[in-house]
C-alpha cells in the first residue's frame, strides 16, 4: 500500500510539471488552433537563458528569473511575427511541419551556443525533501504544484474577466466575427505565443532547478506532453491540468508495477498507449470542445 501511495504522490508532483507545459500548448491552440511542437524547446531555451544569466552576471535568482520571462515574451512575439503569421489559413500539415522545423532550429541554436554537456544548475531549492505525511517530495516539485495552482487560477480569471482573455476566446471561436467586432486577431495571436513561451520558461527553470542540471534532454517534454493535452482536450485549461496529473500518475504506476515484467521502458510508452485509447473513445479529450462538422 505504501508503495502504491508513494507512486501516486510522485506521479502527482511530476504530473504538475507536465501540466505546466501543457498549459502553454493549450493557450496557443485556444487562440490560433496551432499545436506547437516547439513547446519543449521553449522550455529548454528558458532554462538555458536563466542559467546563462545567473552564471555570467551577478544578478540574484529572482532578477534572472524575471529577465528570462522578459526574454520569453520577446521570443514569442518575434516568432509569431516572423514565421507564424504567414501561416494563417495554410493547411494543418504545413503548420505542424513549421513548428517541427522551428523546434529543430531552436535546438540547434541551443546546442551551438551551449553544447550538449549537462550544465550544473546553481542550487535553488534545498536538496532535503519535504515530508508530506510519510512521503518525501522534492521541494522543487512542490513549487511546481504551487505554480500550476496559481496559473490555473490566473488563467481562469483571465479568460473569464479580462478584456484580452475574452477577446482571445472570441478569436478562437471565429476569427471573422472577432475581426468584425474590432478585435485585432494578430495581437491575440502574438499575446498567446508570448504567454505560452513564458509558461514554458517557468517550467524550464523549475525543471532545471529540480534536476540540478540543464541539458538538451529537456526538449523531450514537448513530445511527452502530447498525450496530456489529448487526454485533457486541446482547448481546455482545466483539461491540461487534470491531464498532466493523470499522465504523471499513469507513468509512475505503470513503471512501478509493469516494468519488472517488460524489462523496463513501460513508463515511456504507457502514455502513448493511453493516447490511442483516448482517441478511439473520446477524440476530443475529457474537457475539449466537441466540434460538429456541417457541410
Amino acid at each position: 500500500m505504501d508503495f502504491f501511495l508513494q507512486l501516486l504522490v510522485n506521479g502527482i508532483v511530476v504530473g504538475s510539471i507536465y501540466a505546466l507545459v501543457a498549459l502553454g500548448f493549450v493557450v496557443i491552440y485556444k487562440s490560433s488552433s496551432i499545436l506547437n511542437f516547439a513547446q519543449g524547446e521553449f522550455l529548454m531555451l528558458g532554462a538555458y537563458v536563466c542559467l546563462a544569466i545567473m552564471t555570467t552576471t551577478p544578478v540574484p535568482l529572482w532578477a534572472a528569473f524575471l529577465l528570462t520571462l522578459a526574454f520569453s515574451v520577446t521570443l514569442g512575439l518575434l516568432l509569431e511575427r516572423v514565421v507564424l503569421r504567414p501561416m494563417i489559413g495554410e493547411p494543418v500539415i504545413s503548420v505542424i511541419m513549421l513548428t517541427l522545423g522551428l523546434s529543430s532550429l531552436l535546438r540547434a541554436v541551443v546546442q551551438g551556443i551551449w553544447g550538449t554537456d549537462t550544465r550544473p544548475f546553481p542550487p535553488v531549492f534545498p536538496s532535503e525533501p519535504v515530508h508530506l505525511g510519510p512521503f518525501p517530495v522534492s521541494q522543487g516539485y512542490l513549487w511546481s504544484v504551487g505554480c500550476v495552482a496559481l496559473l490555473l487560477l490566473a488563467f481562469a480569471l483571465f479568460f473569464k474577466y479580462a478584456r484580452a482573455g475574452i477577446a482571445m476566446r472570441a478569436t478562437a471561436f471565429s476569427q471573422q466575427v472577432a475581426l468584425s467586432m474590432g478585435i485585432s486577431v494578430r495581437h491575440m495571436f502574438a499575446l498567446s505565443w508570448s504567454i505560452a513561451a513564458v509558461v514554458s520558461a517557468v517550467g524550464g527553470v523549475l525543471l532545471g532547478a529540480v534536476r540540478g542540471g540543464v541539458d538538451g534532454s529537456l526538449a523531450v517534454f514537448g513530445l511527452k506532453v502530447v498525450p496530456v493535452v489529448i487526454l485533457g482536450g486541446l482547448d481546455s485549461v482545466l483539461g491540461a491540468i487534470v491531464g498532466g496529473v493523470a499522465i504523471g500518475v499513469l507513468e509512475n504506476l505503470s513503471g512501478g508495477y509493469l516494468d519488472p515484467f517488460f524489462g523496463g521502458g513501460v513508463k515511456e510508452v504507457a502514455p502513448f498507449v493511453a493516447l490511442v485509447l483516448i482517441l478511439m473513445v473520446k477524440p476530443y479529450g475529457l474537457f475539449g470542445k466537441v466540434r460538429i462538422e456541417r457541410v
Partner: protein, 390 residues
C-alpha cells in the same frame, strides 16, 4: 632564384609530408547522449596524436587523425565507417560506444581494420569472434565482478548475504556486463534482488528506486552515464534510501561530483585512468602539453583515457611499421606482441595475445570522499578462460 627555391620547397613540403602520412579514423560522440564524456575523450585522442607527431611520429611518419562526430547513433556510425574506410582510406579506427562498436564488429573483421573502442564490453575480447577489436582497460564485466567482490568484503552482517540491485540503461552498453554480473553474484554469494532498466534520458527514477526499496537492496550498481547516475542518486536521497552506490568507469569522474553534488558522497566505482594531474609518471607529458597549448582548459579522467589509447595504438603502429607491415593485418599482429606494455600509470599495463584480447584484468576502485576521488583498493580478477568474451 632563392625565391623560386623557397617556393618549390613550400610546394613540395606538403606533398612530401603527404607521402609520409598514416591516416587513422576517429569516430567520436561530440553531440549525442554520451557527449559529456565523449568530448574530453576525443580531445585526449587529438592531443595525444599531436604529441606523438611532435615526438618523432611513427618512425618519422606523421599520424593524420580524420575524426568525425556520430552523435551516439548506430546508423550514423555505420555511415561514418563507410566514409572513413571508403573515401578516406584510413588504416585503423579509434572509435567510441558499445552499440556502434558491436554493430560494426563483423564488418571490421571482414575488412581487417583494427578498431579501438572506448566500449569495454567483454564481448569484444575474444579474438575467435572479434579479431580486430581492441580496447585499453579492464572490461565492464571485470569491473562489475570487482565491485561485487568489494561488496562481499564490505558486508559485515554474517546472518545473510548482501542484497544488490543493478541499474542499467536500455541499450547495448547498459546490458553488456549484466549476464556476467548475474553469474558472479551466484558464485560468490551476493543476492541479486532487482534489475531496473532506465531509459536513455532519465527524468525521474522514483518508481525504480521504490521497487528496490521494497526488495530491500543494500547496494546498487549502475551501468549508466554521469548525468543519469546523478539523477538516480538525487532521487535516492530524496526517498531516504539506505543503499550504497557503485558504478563503472562512465558513472564516476570529476563531473559526477559537480552535477551530483553532495548526493555523490560515498559512491564507489572503477577508474580505468587516474584523474587529470594525478601524480603518476605518465602524466608529465600531459601536463606539459596542457601548459603549452591550452593552459586555461579543464581536463578530467576521460581526457587521460584518450591519451592512453593513443599511446597504445601508436606503439602498435610503430612495431608494425618496423616490420614493414603497415596494414590492418600487420597492426593487429603487432598489437598482439604487446606484453605488459607500461603506460606510466595512465592505465593498467596492457597485454594482447592472438588468443585473448583482454588488455588487463586489474581494476582500480575509487570512492568519492569529501568531494574528492580517493583511491580505495586494487582488485585483480583471474583471467579465466570461460570468462573470455563474457
Amino acid at each position: 632564384m632563392k625565391r623560386t627555391l623557397y617556393l618549390a620547397a613550400a610546394l613540395l613540403a606538403p606533398a612530401l609530408a603527404l607521402g609520409q602520412e598514416i591516416k587513422v579514423g576517429g569516430i567520436f560522440d561530440l553531440t549525442g547522449i554520451t557527449a559529456d564524456v565523449g568530448k574530453p575523450y576525443a580531445q585526449g585522442v587529438r592531443d595525444g596524436v599531436s604529441w606523438v607527431n611532435d615526438h618523432g611520429g611513427i618512425n618519422g611518419k606523421k599520424i593524420r587523425l580524420v575524426d568525425s562526430d556520430y552523435g551516439y547513433k548506430i546508423p550514423e556510425a555505420n555511415a561514418t565507417y563507410k566514409r572513413l574506410t571508403g573515401t578516406e582510406k584510413v588504416i585503423m579506427i579509434n572509435g567510441w560506444g558499445t552499440g556502434d562498436t558491436e554493430a560494426l564488429k563483423e564488418v571490421v573483421a571482414k575488412d581487417k581494420v583494427p578498431y579501438f573502442s572506448a566500449s569495454f564490453s567483454a564481448h569484444l575480447t575474444n579474438p575467435q569472434k572479434t579479431p580486430y577489436n581492441f580496447f585499453v582497460g579492464p572490461s565492464y564485466s571485470d569491473v562489475l565482478r570487482s565491485y561485487l567482490s568489494w561488496v562481499k568484503q564490505d558486508w559485515k552482517d554474517g546472518s545473510r548475504n548482501p542484497r544488490i540491485a543493478f541499474f542499467y540503461g536500455d541499450n547495448a552498453y547498459g546490458k553488456s556486463p549484466i549476464e556476467a554480473g548475474r553469474r558472479f553474484c551466484k558464485e560468490i554469494g551476493v543476492d541479486l534482488v532487482a534489475e531496473e532498466v532506465l531509459p536513455g534520458i532519465v527524468q525521474d527514477a522514483t518508481s525504480q528506486l521504490l521497487d528496490i526499496k521494497q526488495k530491500g537492496a543494500d547496494y546498487g550498481f549502475t551501468q549508466v552515464t554521469v548525468t543519469n547516475f546523478s539523477i538516480v542518486l538525487r532521487d535516492a536521497r530524496k526517498l531516504g534510501l539506505n543503499v550504497k552506490w557503485g558504478t563503472n568507469t562512465w558513472g564516476l569522474g570529476e563531473n559526477l561530483i559537480a552535477v551530483g553534488k553532495d548526493a555523490a558522497e560515498g559512491v564507489v566505482g572503477a577508474m580505468l585512468n587516474p584523474p587529470f594531474g594525478e601524480n603518476v609518471p605518465g602524466m608529465a607529458k600531459l601536463t606539459e602539453f596542457h601548459q603549452k597549448n591550452h593552459p586555461a582548459d579543464k581536463h578530467d579522467t576521460n581526457y587521460v583515457r584518450g591519451w592512453s589509447y593513443v599511446m597504445v595504438w601508436s606503439e602498435g603502429l610503430k612495431r608494425a611499421d618496423k616490420s614493414g607491415k603497415l596494414t590492418g593485418e600487420g597492426i593487429k599482429a603487432a598489437l598482439e606482441t604487446l606484453k605488459d606494455f607500461d603506460l606510466g600509470g595512465l592505465a593498467a599495463p596492457v597485454t594482447y595475445t592472438a588468443q585473448d584480447h583482454r588488455p588487463t584484468s586489474t581494476v582500480e576502485l575509487y570512492q568519492v570522499q569529501g568531494g574528492k576521488l580517493v583511491r580505495l583498493k586494487q582488485v585483480e580478477q583471474p583471467r579465466k578462460q570461460e570468462w573470455l568474451g563474457l
